[in-house]
């Protein structure tokens, strides 16, 4: 299944695709920039898998996402960190909250950003190393801002009905029921 969320700004053209739907509780989507071969979540995991000092943390985080969230519990609030990552200023009321997946372990160095649609559907973005007290002062600032931009556009598409949430089948559909949309 493939979604294409396209805007007038070429920089922001990206696709939305399933990253993992094999877990019993949660389907994970990811985003991929136009003309990129690799999606943002794979870029994150490949990058830190190749760095010896973060390889173990990377495996911890992947296990937490796929097994604990994806298979055992779903995307329940207790397993997400919602600190200091709100995106405001949408054209309609409300706000988008980009969640931060923080593995439950002291001083865990990696953060991966996510947009929780329901307890059973989550969109994963990119992330980085949390080396400062806030996102703004960490080296992952660029990834955090990008995640917020992705999230804003997806949230707008969800609100105007371009993307329909199919809770029963744990998937996202186009407004006409197909699994491919262009905005």
């Amino acid at each position: 299944m493939y979604f294409c969320l396209q805007t007038n700004n070429k920089v922001n053209i990206f696709a939305l695709e399933i990253w993992d739907d094999e877990g019993a509780k949660c389907t994970f989507y990811t985003v991929k920039y136009e003309n990129f071969d690799t999606n943002e979540t794979d870029l994150f995991f490949e990058k830190y898998d190749a760095m010896a000092e973060y390889k173990e943390a990377n495996q911890d985080l992947l296990s937490f996402i796929l097994l604990a969230i994806g298979n055992d519990h779903g995307a329940i609030d207790e397993l997400f960190n919602r600190a200091e990552n709100e995106v405001k200023g949408l054209p309609v009321q409300g706000k988008v909250t980009v969640d931060e997946i923080t593995y439950h372990y002291p001083d865990f160095p990696l953060r991966l950003y996510a947009l929780k649609i329901t307890n059973n559907i989550v969109i994963l973005f990119n992330g980085g190393i949390k080396d400062g007290p806030t996102n703004q002062t960490s080296s992952l600032f660029v990834e955090w801002r990008a995640a917020c931009e992705f999230a804003k556009k997806i949230e707008i598409a969800l609100r105007d009905g371009t993307i329909i949430v199919d809770e029963k089948n744990r998937k996202l559909n186009n407004y006409d029921g197909s699994d491919e949309i262009i905005l």
């Binding site: 992947l62 055992d72 329940i76």
Partner: protein, 135 residues
């Protein structure tokens, strides 16, 4: 369908890492469920345990690694076990042969040891097709 990158990294991940990730999430979810059932906030729990709310928050958000001692304190205050350690019980498999089963005990339920047997009791034959009980 799963990302090939995720498949590869998960296949290379040690089994203990996968077990730890699931177990820790189970504990965090369990403690939060018990707090909700007992209508307790993290601050209430901190007061009961004579600890600072920030310390309890760190337990539940992963900033502190939970120790066996802290799990025991949570068990005592919340009135229910957080983790359960299984036991091995001998069973008679056949005459002169014994085997073992893993038994999970629940501390809040009184149980008595029973003699295990591998002999099945034959149930009564029911020749009638079961129908829904509608009157």
């Amino acid at each position: 369908m799963r990302s090939k990158v995720a498949q590869r990294i998960l296949a290379e991940t040690p089994e203990e890492t996968k077990i730890f990730a699931r177990l820790y999430a189970d504990i965090v979810v369990r403690v939060n469920q018990l707090l909700k059932e007992n209508k307790l906030s993290q601050k209430d729990l901190a007061d009961k345990m004579d600890k600072r709310p920030s310390e309890i928050n760190k337990w539940l958000t992963g900033e502190h690694n939970l120790t066996l001692r802290s799990l025991a304190k949570l068990h005592a205050e919340l009135g229910e076990p957080i983790i359960n350690v299984p036991q091995r019980k001998p069973i008679a498999i056949s005459e002169g042969t014994t085997g073992y089963v893993t038994v999970y005990r629940n501390a809040s339920v009184n149980t008595t040891d029973v003699e295990y047997t591998n002999a099945w009791k034959k149930s009564k034959t029911n020749n009638k097709t079961p129908l829904a009980n509608v009157s």
